[in-house]
């Protein structure tokens, strides 16, 4: 599998140098692997820190900036970052108002963020933590590590980020984050596996005529393999899965997310089918975001995330945001 890289060992460091070159509005510590919003800490503002394995770009580094994250900690590809990164980030963005850790629910991420929280608290930083677990493809949470954190992470980072920007205190920012996570559900589909630099090839093999339903964002296979479907059928399966689980009774925020390898042309066509499928279920869509936001390297496929929105969440969604990957209102 050919990749636009130097050597697998430097992929993350190389990307950080590129982010530094392209985004003067960010402070990138390549050695310690922390991306910080210029000017942080902001007086009186709660600091938002997230992070996770690399390979999901623009998540999380692309969401650092006004109205969203104050810092992001990229780990190796598909490997959660180490505690030192998050404790360093916490120290860098804490204005005294405390720091919120936004953690996707994976054993590695949870363990490393927990250790980081201990370190940060030792240094006198007040830390709150929210774990994102929106993936309905993980059915039994008792006999698994629990639902995975996927697309809803974008909603949590945007909405909690907006609340923090408004000056809300740590407990309220954390409250918004938890509320958003509880109101969100995701379901992912893969048409191809992705290839990681360290493996140098596909992480699993998926024959021409088949697809994987219920995949995560780490190149792991899904819960079920099926014969290839049309965009409309995939939309129905995805929408059914999230609606069935959330049973929304208010307009939703919709993320039609590309896994990375699916062309935007196809993704917009899929978005049309998702809208059709939601309309058939009498679910109205308040806002729609279409694009490659929570990716799995070069995997072809998509995920659908819905978040039941109320007045406050809609206001926070529309609030100004200015990051490399998400920007409006300013």
């Amino acid at each position: 599998m050919k990749m636009l890289i130097n050597v697998p060992e430097t992929v993350v460091a190389d990307a950080l140098r590129g982010i530094a070159a392209a985004h003067p509005e960010l402070t990138v510590d390549v050695e310690h692997r922390v991306i910080v919003r210029k000017g942080a800490p902001y007086e009186g503002k709660v600091g938002l820190v997230s992070g996770g394995g690399s390979g999901h770009e623009p998540l999380h580094g692309g969401f650092v900036g006004r109205g969203m994250l104050d810092a992001a900690c990229p780990g190796e590809v598909f490997t959660s970052p180490v505690p030192d990164q998050m404790s360093r980030a916490a120290a860098a963005v804490d204005s005294g108002a405390g720091v919120l850790f936004i953690v996707k629910n994976y054993t590695g991420d949870v363990l490393n963020f927990d250790m980081a929280a201990e370190l940060a608290e030792d240094e006198g930083v007040q830390v709150a933590k929210v774990v994102v677990d929106d993936d309905v493809a993980v059915t039994d949470s008792t006999y698994t590590a629990g639902r995975r954190g996927t697309g809803a992470t974008l909603f949590v980072e945007k909405l909690a980020g907006a609340a923090a920007e408004e000056g809300a205190p740590l407990d309220r920012v954390a409250g918004v984050a938890r509320r958003v996570n509880e109101a969100s559900r995701s379901f992912g589909v893969a048409l191809t596996a992705c290839s990681t630099p360290s493996k140098g090839g596909p992480t699993f093999d998926l024959p021409e005529g088949e697809l994987e339903l219920g995949v995560g964002i780490h190149g792991e296979p899904g819960r079920e393999r099926r014969a290839m479907m049309t965009s409309g059928e995939i939309a129905d399966v995805s929408v059914e899965a999230v609606v069935e689980d959330l049973k929304p009774d208010a307009p939703v925020l919709l993320l039609v997310n590309g896994m990375g390898g699916t062309p935007l042309l196809e993704l917009y066509g899929f978005a049309a089918e998702v809208h059709r499928s939601l309309a058939e279920r009498r679910i109205s869509v308040a806002r729609t975001l279409v694009g490659n936001y929570v990716t799995s390297l070069d995997m072809a496929g998509s995920s659908v995330t819905i978040c039941q929105a109320d007045e406050e969440l809609l206001r926070l969604w529309d609030a100004p945001v200015s990051t490399p990957a998400l920007r409006w209102g300013c």
């Binding site: 394995g53 190796e76 598909f78 180490v82 505690p83 590695g108 363990l111 490393n112 698994t144 792991e220």
Partner: protein, 221 residues
Amino acid sequence: MNALPQEGPAIDGAFLRRWLDAATQAVDREADHLTELDSPIGDADHGANMRRGFLAARTAVEQEPPDTPGAVLVAVGRQLISTVGGASGPLYGTLLRRAGKELGDEPVVTAARLRDALRAGVDGVAQLGGAAPGDKTMLDALLPALDALTGALDAGGSTAQALAAAATAADEGAEATTPLRARKGRASYLGERSVGHRDPGATSAALLVTALADTAREASA
């Protein structure tokens, strides 16, 4: 005419530094295999993770060699925590830090003391990760290894013999994860589909125990 149980080598700082060396070589050699195992039921990074962590640990320990066995284990555990990431970093890191702390600053320890320290470390892994035996994790190699170690020592076996028995048990334990359905870690997302694949973490755990046995064998040879 079976050989009489003979006293094993002295378990001191040098011994554990040699273990680190052997473990690092084994992990480096098996990295691609570990990543292979982590592909069908994980995210294809376990080998890279372990290699990165142990290379860093060896470098750190070489730079300023701790002289007690406990200090070596604590140093390695710290390095793993701050360089590996993933699930295995904190788990292995905790195992070794706990074990090292347990040994305190004694310059030389008996096999029994080491066994108890490792038991404490493995308990730490179970606590932190919340996994039970049979959940298809590193514990399924570590726990049998501890039991075999205990059994062999109680039977009056030498350190080398006891650690060799532990290594065998760890290997068998890792092998025995293949038919299991994962209940913890990434593999658990696959549900039934995790059956039929050997757990990468149990496999790397067996490598670490085997390195311990090899170190003892060479020392007593």
